[in-house]
C-alpha cells in the first residue's frame, strides 16, 4: 500500500486535548505505518487557516470550557470555510466530546451561546443536572461496516445534545447515557462528518472504527491489509465489559 498517503490535520492539539485525544491520533498514525501507508500529522493551531485540499482526515478533540470558548471563536473566524470545503470534497471530520459540540450549530451555557460550525445539525445545551459520566457502548450503522458494529468508550459531558431536522445519530445507546441521557441516541453523522462523546480514547478501544476512518479517508473501495489485532480485540472486549455488555 506504498503509494497511499493519509494526511491528518489535528485541530488545536494544545487546547483541545483533555481526554487523551492524542491516543486517537497515535492509533491512526501507527495503523497506517504498520501497513506502509504514508501518514502525516499536521497540527493546526489558533489563528491558522485550513487549506481544504491538504487534509484527508481532520480531528477535533475536547477541552476545558475556557479553551473551548477560545477555539470556538477561532473556528468560526479562521477555519469554518476550510472545514466546509474539506467536508464537501469528502475528507473525514471527526469531533470527539467538545469537538463534537463545536461541529454542531451551537452550545448554550445559560445565557451564553457559543456558535459552532453547523456541519452537524445538532444543538447542545448545558443541562441542569449532573454531568453524564461513565462507560458507554453503542451500536452503529455505517456504510461498509458490519450492521450493529459496537463502539465502546467512556463519556464525561455536561452538555446535552439534540439531533435536529432529521439528523442521523452515529449509533444507538446499548449502555450509558449518549447524547442527552434520554433519547437513546449517541453522536451524529452526516456523510463524512462524525461527532461523538465517546473517548477513552475512542480509537484504541475500537480498532475497527480506526480502520473504517482510514479507508473512508483514503477512498471508499479500498481494502486495508489485515493486522495482528489480537490485543486490540481483547481491549475492545474489555471496554465492552466495563460498559456492561458482553465483549464482541
Amino acid at each position: 500500500m506504498a503509494d497511499l498517503k493519509l494526511r491528518i490535520g489535528a485541530l488545536y492539539p494544545d487546547q483541545m486535548n483533555i481526554y487523551a485525544d492524542r491516543g486517537n491520533i497515535a492509533v491512526l498514525q501507527r495503523r497506517c505505518e504498520w501497513r506502509s501507508v504514508d501518514v502525516s500529522v499536521t497540527a493546526i493551531g489558533l489563528g491558522e487557516p485550513i487549506d481544504p485540499e491538504q487534509f484527508d482526515l481532520i480531528y477535533l478533540g475536547g477541552g476545558q470550557d475556557d479553551d473551548q470558548r477560545r477555539c470556538a471563536a477561532d473556528l468560526i473566524e479562521r477555519k469554518r470555510d476550510g472545514l466546509v470545503a474539506a467536508a464537501a470534497r469528502g475528507a473525514i471530520l471527526l469531533g470527539v466530546c467538545g469537538g463534537y459540540q463545536l461541529l454542531g450549530r451551537w452550545y448554550e451555557l445559560g445565557e451564553e451561546r457559543i456558535e459552532g460550525v453547523s456541519l452537524l445539525d445538532v444543538e447542545t445545551i448545558r443541562g441542569e443536572g449532573s454531568r453524564l459520566i461513565g462507560n458507554v457502548a453503542i451500536e452503529t450503522r455505517l456504510p461498509g461496516a458490519p450492521e450493529g458494529a459496537v463502539l465502546a468508550g467512556f463519556e464525561n459531558h455536561g452538555g446535552r445534545t439534540r439531533l435536529l431536522d432529521g439528523a442521523q445519530p452515529l449509533g444507538r445507546v446499548l449502555k450509558g447515557q449518549g447524547n442527552d441521557g434520554s433519547s437513546g441516541y449517541e453522536g451524529c453523522r452526516a456523510g463524512t462528518v462524525i461527532g461523538t462523546y465517546l473517548h477513552g480514547p475512542l480509537l484504541p478501544a475500537n480498532s475497527w472504527f480506526a480502520d473504517w476512518l482510514i479507508s473512508s479517508a483514503l477512498g471508499d473501495d479500498l481494502e486495508l491489509s489485515p493486522l495482528d489485532d489480537s490485543l486490540e480485540l481483547e481491549a475492545h472486549a474489555a471496554a465492552c465489559r466495563a460498559a456492561g455488555i458482553a465483549g464482541s
Binding site: 483533555i18 487523551a20 491516543g23 476545558q64 470550557d65 454531568r131 459520566i133 480514547p201 484504541p204
Partner: protein
C-alpha cells in the same frame, strides 16, 4: 455544640476504631465518619486544641511525600505530630486522625477538592499549595474548577500564611493581592527542558488572556513563564533549589536556598518531582518558623512515603513501588526510569476502581514511549491490564517484551520469577494497596513499611 457532646462522640468513634482494629481493618476513615455524624464541628474543635496549631498541604501530585518530609522536619524541631501519614485526606480521614493520635502539632494533607471546607474548619497556621495537574476528570471535574475552589482558600482569612509554587502559573496567581505569600521554586534551568511534554496544561495571562511563554519547563507546565505582553510573570521565589543532580532511582542532590542561607542536600528519593516536594516542604517549614538546621536534617532523614518510591526487600530481592495515577506524575516516574540504567523487571498495574478513576484514558497522555528504548521485561496487570498492554504496543514497545496477567498475585509472582534483578512496580492507587499486601505475604521486610 457542647464539650460533652464532642466527648461522647469521640468516645463512640474511638470504640468504632477499636472494633475495626480487632476486626483487622485498621487505618480506615470509618471512625472519623462516625465522629462527624455525631459531632459535625469535631474537626474544628479538636484542631483548636493542638498547642502548636496545624499546617495543611494540598497538590495533585506529591501530597503524601511532601507531608512525610515536613513530618521529619517538624520532628527535628521537637514537635509531636498528629498526621494523616497514610493519605486518608478527606474529612473522615482527618477526623479519624484527630481522635486517633495525640500531639501538639497537626500536619494534614488534604484532597484538592475538599481543601476549602477543611481549611475553614482546621484554621491552619499555613497552607501549602504545591501543584495542580490534570487528574481523574471523572471525579474532580476540569482543572479550572479546582483553581476556582483554591482561590476561595487564598482569599479566606482562616487560611494562615500561603505557601505557593512560583513555578506553577495556576497557583502562583493565587498570591496576587494576598498579604505576604511565601513562594518556592526551582532555579536550575539545566534541570528542565525548552519544550513542554504532551498534554501540559495551558496557562494564560489573567490580564490579557495570552498563553504564557516559557524559558524552561521542569515538570509538566511547571517552569519559568511570563506573559508575552509583559503583564504577568513567575514571581521570584524566596525558597529555591539550584545545582540539581539527579541519580536515577538512587535519589538526587541539590543546593537548598533559604533566603540568604544555602545548604547542600542529599535526597534519598528519585526524580525532579521529589526535589519539588523537598523544596515545598522546606518552604512550609520556613513559614512555620522552623530553624534552618532542623529543615536540612528533616529533609535528609526523609525516606519515601507509603507506595511512593518505597524500596522494599522481598525475600532478598530489591523492589521499588512508585505510584502512578495521572499523566504528569506518571511522566516523571517514567522519566526517572528512563534515566536509570540498572537492570530491572517492570510490573505495571492499572485498576479502574473509583479511587483510581473509572476513566483510564489518561494512560494515553502518559509518555510510555520513554520505555521504548529500554530492555525491561514488562508485566501488565490489574482490571484494565489489556488496555495498558495496548497502550505499550502503540508506544512502540515490542509485544514480546510485554506479558498480560490481569490478576495481581500471579502477575507479581510471574514478574519475580522472570528476572533476578530489581523489581519496579508502577501501580495505580488501589493496585498499590493490594500489591503492598501481597509483598508482605511474600516476605517483604515489614519494618520498611510506614
Amino acid at each position: 455544640m457542647s464539650r460533652l457532646r464532642l466527648g461522647i462522640a469521640t468516645a463512640v468513634a474511638r470504640l468504632v476504631a477499636a472494633v475495626l482494629r480487632v476486626g483487622g481493618s485498621g487505618g480506615t476513615s470509618a471512625p472519623g465518619k462516625v465522629l462527624l455524624a455525631l459531632a459535625p464541628q469535631a474537626i474544628a474543635q479538636r484542631s483548636a486544641r493542638l498547642a502548636r496549631g496545624c499546617a495543611v498541604i494540598s497538590a495533585t501530585n506529591g501530597k503524601t511525600t511532601t507531608s512525610a518530609i515536613v513530618a521529619e522536619i517538624m520532628r527535628a524541631d521537637g514537635a509531636t505530630l498528629v498526621h494523616n501519614h497514610a493519605g486518608a485526606n478527606m474529612a473522615g480521614g482527618i477526623a479519624a486522625t484527630l481522635i486517633d493520635q495525640d500531639g501538639d502539632f497537626g500536619l494534614f494533607e488534604v484532597d484538592e477538592f475538599w481543601l476549602p471546607g477543611l481549611v475553614q474548619q482546621l484554621e491552619p497556621r499555613a497552607v501549602l499549595m504545591a501543584n495542580l495537574f490534570r487528574d481523574q476528570l471523572d471525579r474532580y471535574g476540569e482543572l479550572d474548577q479546582i483553581v476556582n475552589r483554591w482561590r476561595e482558600v487564598a482569599e479566606s482569612p482562616r487560611s494562615g500564611r500561603l505557601v505557593l509554587n512560583a513555578d506553577d502559573p495556576l497557583i502562583a496567581g493565587l498570591g496576587d493581592g494576598v498579604d505576604d505569600p511565601l513562594y518556592f521554586g526551582l532555579e536550575d534551568i539545566e534541570a528542565g527542558s525548552a519544550s513542554p511534554q504532551h498534554a501540559s496544561e495551558q496557562a494564560c495571562c489573567p490580564v490579557c488572556g495570552s498563553q504564557f511563554t516559557y524559558s524552561v519547563y521542569f515538570v509538566g507546565h511547571l517552569g519559568h513563564y511570563r506573559c508575552p505582553n509583559g503583564h504577568a510573570s513567575r514571581p521570584n521565589p524566596q525558597i529555591t533549589a539550584s545545582e540539581i543532580t539527579l541519580r536515577g532511582l538512587g535519589g538526587s542532590s541539590f543546593t537548598l536556598n533559604l533566603g540568604a542561607e544555602s545548604f547542600s542536600i542529599g535526597l534519598a528519593m528519585p526524580g525532579l518531582y521529589n526535589v519539588y516536594n523537598a523544596v515545598a516542604a522546606a518552604a512550609l517549614a520556613v513559614s512555620l518558623g522552623v530553624a534552618s538546621d532542623d529543615i536540612v536534617a528533616g529533609i535528609e532523614a526523609a525516606s519515601p512515603a507509603f507506595g511512593r518510591a518505597e524500596a522494599l526487600d522481598v525475600a532478598g530481592r530489591e523492589c521499588s513501588i512508585m505510584l502512578i495515577k495521572n499523566p504528569a506524575g506518571a511522566n516523571e516516574v517514567l522519566r526517572t526510569l528512563a534515566s536509570d540504567n540498572e537492570p530491572r523487571a517492570l510490573l505495571i498495574a492499572l485498576n479502574d476502581r473509583i479511587a483510581d478513576g473509572r476513566d483510564i484514558s489518561w494512560i494515553w497522555d502518559a509518555d510510555f514511549e520513554q520505555l521504548a528504548s529500554s530492555v525491561d521485561e514488562i508485566t501488565c496487570t490489574g482490571s484494565r491490564s489489556v488496555e495498558l498492554a495496548l497502550r505499550l504496543k502503540y508506544a512502540g514497545i515490542a509485544p514480546e517484551r510485554v506479558r498480560v496477567e490481569a490478576n495481581l498475585g500471579p502477575a507479581l509472582d510471574g514478574a519475580l520469577a522472570t528476572s533476578t534483578s530489581r523489581l519496579v512496580v508502577l501501580p495505580t492507587y488501589t493496585a498499590m494497596l493490594e500489591i503492598r499486601g501481597l509483598l508482605v505475604a511474600r516476605g517483604a521486610a515489614t519494618g520498611s513499611f510506614a
